[in-house]
């Protein structure tokens, strides 16, 4: 009997440890191309809660992890707004999510987000990942970090992960517009050619 208790104890410890490492791994793994993205419910800068399921007419989404305080994210603000202007009416709205821990980055708190959204005239929802539960599901590691989702009968399928384009410094010198190319392909019912790209960004603050 004593041995059994001991064995049980060891089993619990092992289970506990493996659960811990799994939890850590989940953040790193996140969604792969072809995965179904889970819906979320996050607070927008206008105080309303926003979910992907609210967008009845959408064909998909340009989910953008971004923030106020990262120079790379700031460099892309106008381009993100332009993407929403161009593609929201075609069925691919931008959904921006601010993933940082605001205790570490007070410049990303709701007030600062509201201010930035007003200042820049964002026409897309700018949501706070309160409790930082959504970005680990996606596997976002930095800002800006884009996930293009296509709405299907199975759910919202991840079709593209990565950067907006190939020049963060100068919008006029961009050679390849990764996000535009991907959405254009999806709108035509074609495969996305470049499914994943890498870009420098600010690590998400935990």
């Amino acid at each position: 009997m004593k041995n059994l208790v001991k064995l049980l104890f060891v089993a619990i410890v092992i289970a506990g440890l493996s659960a811990f490492t799994n939890g850590k791994k989940e953040i790193k793994d996140g969604y792969k191309i072809g995965d179904i993205a889970t819906d979320f419910k996050l607070k927008n800068v206008n105080g309303k809660m926003v979910s992907l399921s609210d967008f009845k007419d959408a064909k998909g989404f340009i989910v953008t992890f971004t923030c106020n305080t990262c120079p790379y994210a700031v460099a892309y603000e106008d381009r993100i707004e332009a993407l929403n202007k161009m593609y929201a009416k075609k069925g691919y709205p931008v959904i921006a999510i601010m993933p940082n821990n605001i205790a570490v980055k007070p410049g990303d708190n709701m007030e600062a987000m509201q201010e930035r959204a007003k200042e820049k005239g964002f026409t897309f929802p700018y949501l706070m990942d309160e409790g930082q539960r959504v970005y680990p599901q996606f596997g976002a590691t930095k800002t800006p970090h884009i996930y293009i989702l296509e709405k299907t009968n199975r759910g919202n399928v991840v079709k593209y992960i990565g950067a907006i384009d190939d020049n963060y410094q100068d919008a006029n010198k961009v050679k390849v517009k990764y996000v535009e190319n991907a959405v254009n392909a999806l709108l035509k019912g074609k495969e996305v050619e470049t499914k994943e790209t890498k870009a420098i960004g600010c690590s998400i603050k935990v």
Binding site: V104, K105, A163, S203
Partner: protein, 178 residues
């Protein structure tokens, strides 16, 4: 102004001497002199120019840290890399700090930062906008977030997309020293 004048005058003399002795001094030596002078300036590379520094095949262990002045966790861990560079010099460890600051910030922020913090490790700036082409060459694991660090020597290489404290950094570097 007067200082400039003297400097100018001196330069003329120096030039005069160089011309005089150019027959004795070979070209390579002169190039070396120029290089020493330039080290006070910020060295800016594109990825092709940086790549050799990530693959040096000698007896040293290299710690390459990707950072930027605006990246708070990078700035926080920078002193640990500086300490490492100092304390591990005798163990043949060399630190290279690769700044990803934007070019329009070199004069405004990066150079003053290097001066203010008296950085002793070698600092270079990487200016190469097409990051999708070079991030995977640094590491397939790298998603592009900074801080990021490579530790390597001729027989071993490890990539870290994370922040370090000093003891963590030492532990990792010690694994390369045997």
């Amino acid at each position: 102004m007067t200082f400039c004048y003297y400097f100018y005058k001196m330069k003329v003399y120096v030039l005069f001497f160089i011309i005089m002795f150019s027959s004795c001094k070979n070209e390579q030596e002169i190039k070396k002199d120029i290089k020493v002078e330039n080290q006070k300036e910020l060295i800016v590379y594109d990825f092709n120019e940086l790549e050799p520094l990530l693959n040096i095949q000698d007896d040293k262990t290299y710690v390459v840290n990707f950072w930027a002045t605006w990246c708070a966790p990078c700035v926080k861990e920078l002193p640990y890399f500086e300490t490492l560079n100092k304390e591990y010099k005798s163990k043949d460890v060399e630190v290279l700090l690769v700044s990803l600051d934007f070019p329009n910030q070199y004069d405004k922020r990066l150079k003053p930062f290097i001066a203010k913090h008296e950085l002793r490790s070698k600092v270079v700036a990487l200016n190469d906008v097409d990051s999708n082409s070079w991030i995977p060459k640094i590491s397939e694991e790298w998603t592009g977030a900074i801080p990021a660090t490579i530790i390597y020597n001729k027989s071993k290489r490890q990539f870290y997309e994370q922040s370090f404290n000093y003891s963590e950094l030492k532990t990792e570097v010690d694994k390369f020293l045997n």
